[in-house]
């Protein structure tokens, strides 16, 4: 599991360091998945049954990281959507999606 998290982080970092805006956004999205996986791994995966009342004599999985994960996914989703819209707007107004050219001039 940890190796997968590491791989996702690696791919995400690589994508963020590229020049195209869309790839950068994909990179943040992939790192987001890596983070989510990390949270759920930290809760301990192989510990036991579902955390429901009425099931007896089993060790329960820790449900808190799953709740955190749900929140994190929603927030990640919202920010990615916003970022995509904004980058499209930036593309139409500025006419480029190359971060080198997004740097801008001093006298504006």
């Amino acid at each position: 599991m940890c190796i997968v998290v590491g791989l996702l982080f690696m791919i995400g970092t690589y994508l963020i360091l590229t020049k195209t805006l869309l790839r950068i956004i994909l990179g943040t999205s992939i790192i987001g998945h890596g983070v989510n996986l990390l949270i759920i791994t930290m809760g301990g995966l192989k510990k036991g049954g579902p955390p429901l009342l009425g099931i007896e004599n089993v060790t329960y999985a820790d449900s808190l990281p799953q709740a955190l994960l749900l929140t994190a996914i929603v927030i990640n989703f919202a920010t990615t959507a916003l970022f995509l819209v904004l980058s499209y707007r930036a593309y139409t107004v500025l006419g480029t999606d190359d971060t080198e050219q997004l740097r801008g001039k001093e006298d504006e």
Binding site: T28, V35, I39, T41, T79, L86, E108
Partner: protein, 496 residues
């Protein structure tokens, strides 16, 4: 249990949501936004008195006792900051009425503004580290939209960088939370403090602490401030003023909270590191402030110097240093909003932000000039204005804990700050008047009211520092004794 605790979050959120459905009624929106800031301010004032007489107020949401539920905790430190937040936000709103423009007002400026305030207040009140993340996000998403609202070229360009940096730091925040949860099994601040004290702050725990420091530094602009000058000079004045006054301060608040309540066992490592970063931040910020001839740049670099200075007080980790940090934090929120509004007014009047094109404004706008002078003195900590006390206490604190180099850098950078801001004053207000009144792009009508309010406040805070002294002392007492906080949240003799 005290239901008032959650009102500073609820009021702006609910009123903001109501405002979303009446997009065209700008008058009502203006009134409601002012009203909600007043309401938050008065609730907080009431809470401050209550905390002073009865101790820290908590609210366990849904009746689930801490550490199982989500707790909201308001101590004097948080309450004072919320109070200042509502005052500053009130003034920025007044300023925005005249400058922000109808286009932005129709596209949900006021609801977004209130959501931003809700996120800021939430970050101050929450007693749970994951909830802190959520409140950070509420604040950041609102700020993403505010920074790009209007869609001019420079705004779009800067907002992309701003959003990318903040998304990445949010992910790092989640990583840090995940590691912390794996090691301690809890997320409640008070409970975390107990557990960390019990297992001891070993090497791994300190590493997680440093990870948290990196995350909060990115938000606060401590050393990792490369995104800040661009992002804060892009949006319109009212927005950049509220950003300068509040957003970095939330990061500072998080650093103070986490490093006084949870990770306070290894100050030689963590607090020394904060001190080092603070020194570098002050140095680089001051160099930036001196180097530029652009008003907006100079002001944004001054924000960075302020952040470094507050954290120098935190790094000293003494009662005096903390008192200074709190005084300076309150002062900085007010005076940064003030100086941004003043600088923005100069740009608004003359249409340029280049100091070399400005001259002799004092003939046309004497009030503006004098208020700029007062703000400049206050910014660099000249007595009897509000920056003075904080500066003295922070310097004393750094000397007391043996960080002489830190105190020295703080004092030297104060001089550079004075130079940089006087440069703005002399170039913009002294000399021949090169611009005629009828050539100006706007009038100061209505703008002087919020600026005047903030100026009065910085003078009053300097002269009447005695009045808030008791409150600041109590707030620092809680910061320096984590047990008070823990007892308020978990009860006396809690189980670790």
């Amino acid at each position: 249990m005290n239901n008032l605790v959650i009102l500073p979050i609820i009021i702006p959120v609910v009123i903001g949501m109501i405002m979303v459905i009446m997009r065209k009624q700008i008058k009502i929106q203006r009134f409601l936004s002012l009203f909600s800031m007043l309401a938050v301010g008065s609730v907080t004032l009431y809470l401050i008195f209550q905390i002073k007489s009865e101790g820290i107020q908590t609210l366990q949401l849904g009746g689930w006792e801490a550490p199982y539920g989500v707790s909201m905790v308001i101590d004097l430190f948080a309450a004072l900051l919320i109070m200042v937040t509502s005052i500053v936000a009130f003034c920025c709103l007044l300023y925005a009425f005249h400058t922000i423009g109808e286009e932005r007002e129709k596209f949900y400026f006021y609801p977004l503004f209130l959501f931003l305030i809700a996120g800021v207040n939430g970050s101050f009140i929450t007693g749970d580290i994951f909830n802190l993340f959520v409140c950070f996000e509420v604040m950041l998403v609102a700020s993403y939209v505010l920074i790009s609202l209007g869609g001019t070229k420079i705004q779009l360009r800067e907002s992309i960088k701003y959003i990318l940096i903040n998304i990445l730091s949010s992910f790092l925040f989640l990583v840090a939370i995940a590691f912390l949860y794996a090691m301690t099994g809890t997320l409640n601040f008070a409970h975390l403090s107990l557990r960390v004290a019990e297992v001891g702050q070993g090497g791994l725990m300190t590493t997680v602490a440093i990870l948290f420091l990196i995350v909060f530094s990115l938000k606060a602009g401590l050393f990792l401030f490369f995104w800040l000058p661009g992002a804060y000079s892009a949006p319109p004045t009212a927005i950049s003023a509220i950003f300068a006054a509040l957003l970095t301060k939330v990061g500072i608040y998080a650093i103070i909270r986490v490093f006084t309540l949870v990770f306070y066992h290894e100050p030689e490592v963590t607090h020394w590191f904060i001190g080092l970063l603070a020194a570098i931040t002050m140095g680089l910020g001051a160099i930036g402030a001196v180097a530029y001839w652009d008003i907006k740049r100079i002001l944004t670099y001054n924000v960075i110097v302020g952040v470094g200075f507050i954290l120098a007080g935190v790094a000293s980790f003494t009662t005096v240093g903390m008192t200074g940090a709190l005084y300076y934090l309150i002062h900085d929120m007010i005076v940064k909003a003030l100086i941004f509004l003043l600088g923005g007014t100069i740009i608004y009047l003359t249409g340029t932000s280049n100091l070399k094109d400005l001259s002799g404004l004092i003939r046309l706008h004497p009030q503006l000039g004098w208020m700029f002078f007062v703000a400049a003195l206050s910014l660099s900590g000249i007595p009897p204005l509000s920056g003075f006390l904080g500066k003295i206490f922070i310097t004393e604190g750094t000397f007391e804990s043996g960080y002489f180099w830190l105190g020295a850098i703080g004092l030297i950078t104060s001089l550079l700050v004075l130079y940089s801001i006087m440069k703005v004053f002399m170039n913009a207000f002294w000399g021949y008047t090169v611009i005629r009144e009828e050539d100006e792009y706007g009038t100061t009508k209505g703008l002087l009211l919020p600026i005047g309010l903030l100026t009065t406040l910085t003078i009053a805070l300097g002269l009447g520092a005695e009045a808030i002294h008791d409150y600041v002392d109590l707030a620092v007492e809680v910061l320096m004794n984590p047990n008070l906080y823990i007892e308020a949240v978990l009860g006396v003799n809690p189980k670790p």
